[in-house]
């Protein structure tokens, strides 16, 4: 098909304009628009009920919605069957059917998926405690995710969507999950979208970030630009008034009279005079931008 398209001129993997989806009275997607390029790892981050899962479900053709959405050039509402050959997702932990054995899962996906690489999957499985006869119902949550990830990583999909893939896993499994994904799966042909509340853990693997709030995208930016645009300054009681004059978007007090302020778009040289500067963590930035969400 269009597999020969190169990175530079690749059409967007996802192009969304004016998405709208209402549940009862609440809007889950409210005129949502965004573009996602190929070869990126995007973190879709938002508070509970902000519309993250709805946006992903729309991309995967799992819910009806209004608006214009193209995923790999296809409309997920009407061309889902075709789309799913190039898209894969892990919607949640522990959604593998409980009766299934490891062997059956591999056989089935191998039987139906044209882009599944069985040898690769078996290699991934070999590195875990999973054995072919084990049933999903006998596995721990972490093992289920290992199996699911092994299946998904062996599929040569163009777009992988992960919705809270590590919820409820311990830190060892969580770290391993993202490490495997980065080392054994991701390349410049692939695009990964991740939602999670554990922002700190995915921060270092993201290339792009999108903040969503009340069904609207409030920030979409490459991670490099985030570092350039936002600066955190550690002010002391001497410089605090000077700093406030520059309109920080957030400030929080630390012990010993120090205050951390977060600035949007203020040149770093200017801020350096006020105190120690550094790149803000994604979690702090998120908190600053989402202030008042639950108010």
């Amino acid at each position: 098909m269009n597999a020969v398209a190169t990175n530079t001129d690749a059409t967007n993997v996802i192009s969304a304009r004016g998405l709208r989806k209402a549940y009862r009275s609440k809007l889950a997607l409210d005129d949502t628009s965004f573009e996602i390029e190929a070869g990126r790892i995007i973190g879709l981050i938002g508070p509970n009920g902000a519309g993250k899962t709805t946006a992903l479900k729309a991309i995967l053709g799992l819910v009806p919605f209004e608006g214009n959405l193209k995923v790999l050039g296809l409309d997920p509402r009407t061309q889902r069957d075709e789309l799913m050959r190039d898209v894969c997702f892990i919607a949640d932990v522990a959604v593998l059917p409980r009766w299934m054995r490891v062997r059956e899962a591999i056989d089935f996906v191998d039987g139906i998926h044209p882009r599944f690489d069985r040898a690769k999957c078996e290699r991934f499985i070999a590195n875990t405690q999973l054995n072919p006869k084990l049933r999903v119902r006998e596995m721990s949550k972490g093992m289920i995710v290992q199996l699911h990830l092994a299946l998904v990583m062996a599929i040569d999909a163009k777009l992988l969507v992960l919705d809270e893939p590590t919820l409820g896993l311990d830190i060892l499994y969580r770290k391993q999950f993202y490490q495997r994904l980065l080392e054994d799966y991701f390349d410049e042909q692939k695009t990964i979208i991740i939602t999670t509340h554990q922002v700190e853990e995915i921060e270092h693997i993201l290339t792009d970030v999108m903040f969503i709030r009340d069904g609207k995208i409030v920030l979409t930016s490459p991670m490099d630009d985030v570092a350039e645009r936002y600066t955190e300054v550690l002010t002391t009681s001497d410089t605090i008034e000077q700093a406030r004059a520059l309109n920080p978007i957030d400030e929080r007090a630390l012990p010993f009279g120090k205050t951390v302020m977060l600035f949007d778009g203020v040149p770093r040289q200017q801020l350096a005079a006020l105190g120690e500067t550094r790149n803000p963590g994604l979690a702090d930035l998120f908190v600053a931008i989402m202030k008042g969400t639950y108010a």
Partner: protein
């Protein structure tokens, strides 16, 4: 499997153009993996239990018979005896099949009712939907199991049960020295019975279609408790119609409503439920006095008369519509509670 086709390329760059997929075959396999307990083991275990009970009964009977006075079974009219025993053999064979069919009715009912609901409840539908399988294929694979493959397994297992009961009967009679004991073998009609049972399969598929379709539709639609929706809705509708008729001056064909909604909508998953509907009981309406009459009555090809009824074909049309609706709901319905 197909690794040899790509052996000269680095694994990570492999493009799986030559990867053969036969999605429907694997969907059918998947259903069997998930439901082999109902499709295979339920009739097999029932058959085994009945066979063992029958065997115990035969042994006890033999012992009791000896104690009571040995060869009091000696019959003078050997010809008549042989025919009777042959008819008995037929009956035993048929009993095996009927046993498996009884199990089948329950299995198909609850399978269809859970088929499009259970994976929405345990969220595993999200896994199935992450794979390149269309909802149409998914729903049809389940319908094929309910209407075709589960009945085929039931017939096969039923025949085996029948044969084992048949064998036990013949051995018991022979061992006890009943003079015409082998007549169970020689004077019964196993091929005729097996043929008749097989001939009724196509009738079953079309006859059960509206009931299976309705159950699958409820299964795809219900947010919770598909059983209540599937069963209570038609039953309550019938009860209400029945009550309305108590009012003076109204005339509803109440029996027809009950027949349509409950008998055809739910109970048609029972194999053989077409006999009363086509005005035929399986004995052909005749009284069975002699073994020969039993043999001819067992001729299940009378089932085919169901094809000549409008009832059957209206049911088929509705069944197809129900399944089409189930496919649509499968596409858009969200998770169950």
């Amino acid at each position: 499997m197909n690794a040899s086709a790509h052996i000269d390329r680095p694994q990570s760059q492999t493009v799986h153009t030559g990867h053969k997929t036969n999605t429907f075959k694997w969907l059918l396999k998947r259903e069997f993996w998930e439901n082999r307990g109902g499709f295979l083991w339920a009739p097999v275990i029932t058959g085994a239990i009945i066979s063992v009970l029958y065997l115990i009964l035969a042994v006890i009977g033999s012992i009791a018979g000896r104690r009571a006075g040995g060869d009091s079974f000696q019959i003078t009219d050997e010809g008549n005896m042989a025919a009777t025993l042959g008819g008995f053999g037929d009956g035993v064979l048929l009993a095996g099949v009927l046993l498996a069919f009884t199990v089948l009715a329950f299995v198909v009912f609850f399978y269809a009712l859970g088929s499009l609901y259970d994976d929405r409840r345990d969220r595993s539908i999200l896994f199935w939907k992450s794979l390149p399988v269309s909802d149409t294929q998914m729903v049809l694979s389940k319908a094929v199991w309910a209407l075709l493959l589960a009945p085929i397994i039931a017939v096969a297992v039923g025949i085996l049960i029948g044969l084992s009961l048949w064998l036990i009967s013949a051995l018991t009679l022979t061992v006890n020295g009943v003079s015409a004991g082998t007549a169970v073998f020689t004077h019964s009609h196993p091929l005729k019975i097996i043929g008749g049972v097989l001939a009724s399969l196509p009738v079953y598929i079309l006859w059960a279609l509206p009931a299976v379709g309705w159950l699958m539709l409820c299964s795809a639609w219900a947010r919770s408790k598909p059983f209540l929706w599937a069963v209570l809705l038609p039953v309550l509708a019938c009860v209400i119609v029945s009550m309305i008729r108590i009012l003076p001056g109204t005339s509803f064909p109440v029996d027809k409503v009950w027949y349509t909604l409950v008998y055809r909508g739910l109970l048609s998953v029972v194999p053989g439920s077409w006999y009363p509907a086509i005005g035929l009981d399986p004995t052909g309406g005749q009284e069975i006095n002699s073994p020969d009459q039993l043999a001819s009555a067992i001729d299940l090809t009378t089932s085919w008369q169901a094809f000549a009824t409008a009832d059957m074909w209206i049911g088929v049309a509705l069944g197809v519509a129900f399944i089409a609706a189930a496919i649509y709901l499968r596409r858009w319905r969200e998770l169950a509670d």
